[in-house]
Amino acid sequence: MKFFRSSSNQAAGSAVPQKLTRRSSGMGEICRLLNSQEGLCVLDMGSTSANNIRFLTGKGHKAYSEDLLRSSLEPALRIQDVAGNSVLDSKKFLDENLVYANALFDVVLCWNLPDYMEESLVKPTIDRLWSLMKPGGYLLAFFHTREAGPDSTCYRYHVTGTDMLEMQEVKFAPPGRPASEKQSPRLQRVFNNRHIENLFRDFASIKFFLARDAIREVLVVR
């Protein structure tokens, strides 16, 4: 499996990736909730974002940060299957990540994690999130459509408090490599609507928002 994009796609000379913006109907719905209530428990599963922590704690919410994409690259998670192939140990992954009390979270910001995470981890991760969310809690995820190529940029998202999101390219060094060798993760697959519905079949409801940038937003209610 190729996890990172080829280095030729990297923007030369840009030490700090540029921030773009996109309108997000799903985030708009979640922000209405975040702006109208206090004391919600929110799990941000993207790269650690000072913006998001500032927004959430400033609104009186409890902010939890867990970058599962980066955590999934831990070399210690790799084991060999019976055929001798290197695979990820999903049980160990869930023993070490997403370890919280059941029904803790009101909101989970999953972002584009399922599209970039190794496939064997996706369903177990969503199932774990189901158990960690309160009934009626919201989960927001972004899925690429078929129009997106394998080299589509992996973004992290910064909440602004409206339906506008700031986007910033994700880059980090492969395990064991120096920080100077940062690369962008590669899109692992494209889910179709049926796959997405199956992924969230245990949830109470699912709403799709189609966007122009080859992204389907999915807002799921636990």
């Binding site: 700090v16 650690t48 974002s49 000072a50 913006n51 922590i53 500032r54 704690t57 400033g58 409890k62 902010a63 939890y64 940060s65 867990e66 970058d67 980066r70 955590s71 990540n97 980090f172 920080a179």
Partner: protein
């Protein structure tokens, strides 16, 4: 505070390994390994780029450039520099996180009476 000046606090070098409880009334710079607990109350703790701390830490300000596994309780400020890797909950009044820092845990920003409690990048 990135690195201590001579005479301005204690320095644990990168070849030093400590297991146990550390407490003190001066600033502390840790660039080695500490496994246990660190309590500095009204002083600063800096975990240097080579630092590897497995401890619950409590100080006035905490600056992390290296790795820390444990809870962080800072009465004033926490700074996570770009090379920081923190696994644990953070409780503070102010937090600054640089681009590239990794944090896995809960952030509890306790508001100072009458003041905002920002997180900045």
């Amino acid at each position: 505070m990135d690195a201590p000046q001579t005479g301005e606090g204690a320095h644990i070098g990168k070849s030093v390994v400590i297991k146990g409880e550390l407490s003190g009334s001066e600033d502390l710079y840790v660039d080695g390994n500490v496994d246990g607990k660190i309590e500095l109350r009204n002083h600063s703790l800096t975990v240097g780029p080579n630092g590897n701390v497995k401890a619950d830490v409590s100080a006035k300000t905490v600056v992390i450039q290296g790795k820390l596994d444990g809870s962080v309780n800072a009465s004033e400020r926490v700074e996570l520099r770009k090379s920081a890797v923190v696994n644990g909950d953070v409780t503070t009044q102010r937090i600054a996180i640089e681009e590239g820092a990794f944090l896995k845990g809960k952030v509890d920003v306790q508001r100072e009476a009458g003041k905002a409690a920002p997180a900045s990048s």
